[in-house]
Symmetry: C2
Subunit: 209 residues, 2 copies
């Protein structure tokens, strides 16, 4: 059975999409219509009751949450560019980086447009949105100075952390962050944009937007 | 070299602490003094520049972020109760559950006391805090009805997801959530509290508070 990814071009689903391209696995991607809230449709809620993307449909069922999808793809395509190292400590560094992006950087970003996940008060929502350039710059500082080894996130070898950082860093300008302040992240983004996997994925979303 | 866990009784560090007890590995736990902001001391920032717990110190270096520490411990203690399944799909379900707690449930909880991670405005902070009973109840609903299989999170077998849920569900009352509305989560919490690992960990924090 083919693997199916439910995704959207504005979302974190792009990370799993790039990982699928890197994996060499056969798959189909389905771009959800967020403008019409397709992610909250009864049909999609049967796939993912959290009403979010990405969801990965495989023979055994559904996998949700980016770090879990990435680990799964690495395990079924161990010889590809996203294969995980055998060493538990090296593996842990990849999971640690991805968990930071998942729970801190992505969450900081979400306070711009998705503040109603946490609060309904209009003034509070505005205050959250206004602070996103600051919180995202703090995340980029942490990544630039303490996490990104270069040229890839964990050094010489490409890993599951690279598509994840690419997605987050692609939000910099829209989130009010000056990417020029973070030269290593900028160089990483440029290197990622040159990969065939990213070109295929970007072309997909350009065709579906 | 012994494994060292930097943790605190009020924090998510408890999850890794219980996992260490379950693993059978030798370790020492160091309770950080959050009241005096020890997590922001120059000494600790050299261990973890994110100024958070947990941090796990192993021979090769430092591991941060709960999902990464849990996976690492499972990999070095594969025959213990926290060992990961060989099947990639089953493994992915554990990572998916943990990622949801890390990026959604824990983040919802953090809006009560740690709102300055996202905003500085006093009124906005109050609005965030006031909404925590609602957002946490939504998380518990999702877990109760769509995620927790019982008796353990993923069914008959204990896994890395169980200490994680225990920590989050132990916050229910303080977060304004009526645990009686979530009988499966309540039963899970009771079953966890009866485990030797949890008793050892709770005794540690009682002695260090």
């Amino acid at each position: 059975m083919a693997i199916t990814l439910y995704t959207s071009g504005a979302s974190i689903g792009v990370v799993s999409h790039i990982a699928l391209e890197e994996s060499g696995l056969e798959y189909q991607a389905i771009a959800m219509d967020f403008a019409n809230k397709q992610q909250s449709s009864a049909e999609y809620l049967r796939i993912n009751p959290k009403a979010r993307v990405p969801s990965l449909i495989v023979e055994e069922g559904v996998i949700t949450e980016t770090p879990a999808i990435l680990t799964y793809l690495a395990q079924i395509a161990p010889s590809s560019s996203i294969g995980l190292p055998d060493d538990p400590f090296e593996h842990a560094q990849i999971q640690s980086f991805n968990a930071y992006l998942c729970s801190t950087a992505h969450v900081a970003h979400a306070h711009k447009m998705r503040g109603t996940r946490w609060v309904n008060d209009e003034a509070a929502l505005k205050a959250m949105t206004a602070n996103v350039p600051t919180t995202m710059a703090l995340c980029f500082e942490m990544i630039e100075h303490n996490m990104l080894k270069g040229p890839w996130v964990h050094g010489d070898n490409f890993s599951l952390s690279d598509p994840y950082l690419y997605r987050i860093s692609s939000w910099a300008e829209a989130d009010g962050v000056d990417i020029e302040q973070f030269p290593s992240i900028k160089a990483h983004r440029t290197a990622m944009a040159a990969r065939d996997s990213v070109k295929v994925v970007e072309a997909f979303y350009n065709a579906h937007s």
